[in-house]
């Protein structure tokens, strides 16, 4: 686990260096500060499960077993915030809440086809507060669809404090996976000024 954690951290540090050299012509959203929580969560996720991620998806992709080489190749194309790999059943949308109904449909198909796998949907704390999350969560729960929602709470949406913007935040249901963390990097970029 220690090696895996370091491997994740090192990957992002490598991306950081490449980005700061001006070699990635698109925004990057680095992961960091949530290695322990994600390593634990991904122990529950099987190779055949679907993972629905978002704009901050590097760790999700690597932990789903997608090779560093493949992930790096996409990031170099400027696709850091929309990593999609059919062969790994991995989908990422860079629109708030965008992947959730897609995951819902995949799960509905799983149930109707009596497949054995599941869908894991990762959202941030601001996305958790949206109407589309609520609709999809409610439908999934009512129809007992094979979905697990994971809320990754760093308290921020871009740089807007979720709690401040909403005045209060909603209670998290017990059947979702929830964890809090402090992000290591800015919302996008590395915090350094880069000339492209």
């Amino acid at each position: 686990m220690k090696n895996l954690k370091q491997k994740l951290i090192n990957f992002e540090l490598t991306i950081k260096k490449i980005y700061e050299k001006g070699k990635i012509k698109g925004p990057i959203h680095l992961s960091g500060g949530n290695e322990d929580q994600l390593i634990k969560i991904f122990k529950r996720i099987k190779n055949n499960d679907w993972v629905i991620s978002n704009w901050r998806s590097h760790y999700h992709a690597l932990l789903q077993g997608i090779s560093e080489k493949k992930v790096l190749r996409e990031i170099l194309k400027g696709k850091s915030m929309s990593l999609n790999f059919k062969e790994h059943k991995f989908i990422a949308s860079s629109i708030v809440g965008g992947g959730i109904p897609i995951g819902l449909g995949i799960a509905l198909a799983i149930k109707r086809k009596k497949q054995k796998n599941k869908v894991f949907i990762f959202v941030g704390d601001m996305t958790f507060e949206t109407g589309i999350f609520y609709e999809c969560y409610k439908y999934a729960k009512n129809y007992n669809l094979p979905i697990k929602f994971v809320v990754e709470d760093n308290g921020l949406s871009t740089n807007t404090p979720t709690k401040k913007a909403w005045k209060t935040i909603s209670k998290k249901p017990k059947d979702i996976i929830y964890y809090k963390y402090k992000r290591r990097f800015p919302h996008h970029g590395t915090g350094s000024w880069v000339l492209f």
Binding site: S82, K86, I91, S93, G98, P101, I106, K113
Partner: protein
């Protein structure tokens, strides 16, 4: 005179024939509000379709379109019904930012085939007003890049357009736009 006129009307019957054809395919599934319960013109073209080929959904248009994409990514061909063009507007995020961009986002690997049915609301004998009768065909033709947009004006084209939507080799999604007034006039 009335009977002769009825016999010439083909628009609705061609839609019904098309739905029967789509229903024969094992992968297809009809979803939306009022696919199983009456309430709009589209329902009248689906009432003969078997219950196990239909999923009645709540009113959540954006979820419906995303859910359709998800079904398609896992092996189905959803025929997703939005009773009025005005209501499809509520699904724009999933339509434009997601379904329409899946190929680009995934290096051409995710190729969901979704058949989207919508209808310009009828104005006769009752005019539904500005929120129920708009024709946004040109807007959608301009904004969509990967999804085909087809306007169903002539009854003789209807069956072939649905057949193409189901079988096209590139598996692209298709938006088929009906017109409520044509159900009673063409």
């Amino acid at each position: 005179m009335g009977i002769i006129l009825m016999m010439k009307l083909k628009y609705k019957s061609e839609l019904i024939r098309s739905m029967s054809y789509l229903a024969k395919n094992k992968k297809t599934i009809f979803i939306g509000q009022s696919v199983s319960y009456s309430g709009n013109a589209i329902f009248n073209t689906l009432s003969h379709i078997s219950k196990n080929k239909k999923i009645e959904l709540p009113v959540f248009e954006e979820v419906q379109l995303g859910l359709s994409t998800g079904l398609a990514l896992n092996g189905y061909v959803p025929i997703t019904c939005f009773p009025r063009f005005d209501f499809l507007i509520l699904a724009m995020n999933q339509l434009v930012n997601h379904l329409d961009k899946m190929r680009t986002l995934s290096n051409n690997s995710f190729k969901p085939r979704v058949i989207i049915r919508t209808s310009i609301g009828s104005k006769k004998p009752l005019n539904g007003g500005v929120q129920h009768t708009q024709d946004y065909t040109n807007v959608f033709k301009n904004i969509l890049t990967e999804i085909n947009v087809v306007s169903l004006k002539n009854p003789k084209d209807i069956f072939n357009e649905f057949k193409l939507a189901l079988n096209r080799k590139d598996s692209k999604s298709t938006l088929l736009i009906e017109n409520g007034d044509y159900y009673n006039s063409r």
